[in-house]
Amino acid sequence: MDVEKYIASGILELYIAGILSDKENLEIANYAKEYPEIQKEIVAIEASILALSKKASPGYNYSFKSLMNKINGEVKVVSINEKRSTPLLSYVGWAASLLLAVGLFWMYQQNEDLKSNIQVVEKQNVDLEQQIADTDSSLEQTQDLLNTLRDKNISVTSLGGQTVSPTSYAKAYWNKENQKVFIDAKGLPEPPDGFVYQVWSLKLSPLTPTSMGLLEDFATDENKVFALNNPNESEAFGITLEPAGGSESPNLEQLYTLGVVAAS
């Protein structure tokens, strides 16, 4: 290292002023140990500041003894002072921090409330949207149904009430082309527990019943219109009450409605 140049840079003067970074201070302390010239220069710079500050001094009237007395006394004085002077300041400080804490907690609560309010509203929105979607699809189904029933290929058969239940009635809408039958069973009473309505396609001579299917979930179906497949050359339709799961052949004692297909 070029010691002369380092000294000439003026960094050692700043070192004495105490305005360098920790890193620079450490570096200079190490150089001072390594290079006597640097150490010497540091001491000389310090001496000049010492001389200057000494000349500016008003002198010092206190002896070291009085200083030590004050230091030893200071401990007690400080402790008394602390007791006297701290309460107000520290109470204010504690009160302020307590207030702040309460305030923060309150804000937090408010924020949480708002958040949960938003959640509730969002949930309501979702529910409403769901209702709209449900209504839409229900409307669509109804439209479909209406369109189906209005189809020109449909032949309508009225099924009248029989001995078991004279007031019952039903209608069969038969689309021969796509072999579908829609049974409108609005006029049938709710089946008792453990029983189900079964729809039959009948040939009249000789009387040959063929099962077309069950009116499942009768109670919960809203419009009570059931779509069944019917590949048969039906001459009449009948609906009987059968044990749950349906039967192989109709129980004619429990024949609720019956109707003959109009000859086309």
Partner: protein, 178 residues
């Protein structure tokens, strides 16, 4: 090297080491404070407080961070600056920045009672240019950083180090010529 030993003893709270250090530096510390507060009695009072602080914080001095004198110099000027900030000087910031320690000389000539060695001080700084007095004041007695000093004196920051070096050299010549 004797100083290092004293400082080591002092860090172990040895009162006799502290007494020696006190003897070595009390005048200087009071002088530093006086350049800032410019009041003999107040300077002495703060000076005593500073040495109490030095004693109470003796463990915090670390020789790798600088000279012992630099450490106590820093404590002293902070105490003095705190003092005048907390007093009525509050609204009169110019007092802190514009009135350099040569002000002591003018004040003291009016005041018969002052104990400052005005003649000695005058001799020491007589041929120093004003810009030297300013830069020494800011860096040593006010603890300005290079950047702050450059702004205050309206000079490029790179100039601070070299100007200060030449000013201190002048000061050293004055000392030797005495």
């Amino acid at each position: 090297m004797q100083l290092d030993l004293l400082v080591d003893q002092f860090k172990k709270k040895d009162p006799s080491a502290f007494e020696k250090l006190y003897g070595m530096y009390a005048d200087n510390i009071c002088g530093v404070i006086n350049t800032i507060v410019k009041n003999d009695a107040l300077s002495q009072e703060i000076c005593q407080d500073v040495f109490i602080k030095i004693w109470n914080n003796c463990e915090s001095y670390n020789s790798s961070k600088g000279r012992f004198f630099t450490w106590i110099l820093n404590i002293a000027r902070n105490a003095a600056i705190d003092e005048i900030r907390s007093r009525s000087y509050k609204n009169d910031k110019k007092n802190l920045s514009a009135d350099y320690f040569v002000g002591i000389l003018q004040n003291k000539e009016d005041e018969q009672a002052s104990t400052v060695d005005t003649q000695g001080l005058r001799k020491l700084i007589d041929n120093l240019k004003e810009k030297c007095v300013q830069i020494i004041e800011l860096l040593y007695f006010r603890g300005y950083t290079q950047k702050d000093a450059a702004e205050e004196l309206d000079i490029p920051i790179g100039t601070v180090k070299t100007r200060n070096r030449s000013c201190i050299s002048q000061l050293r010549e004055n000392m030797e010529g005495k």
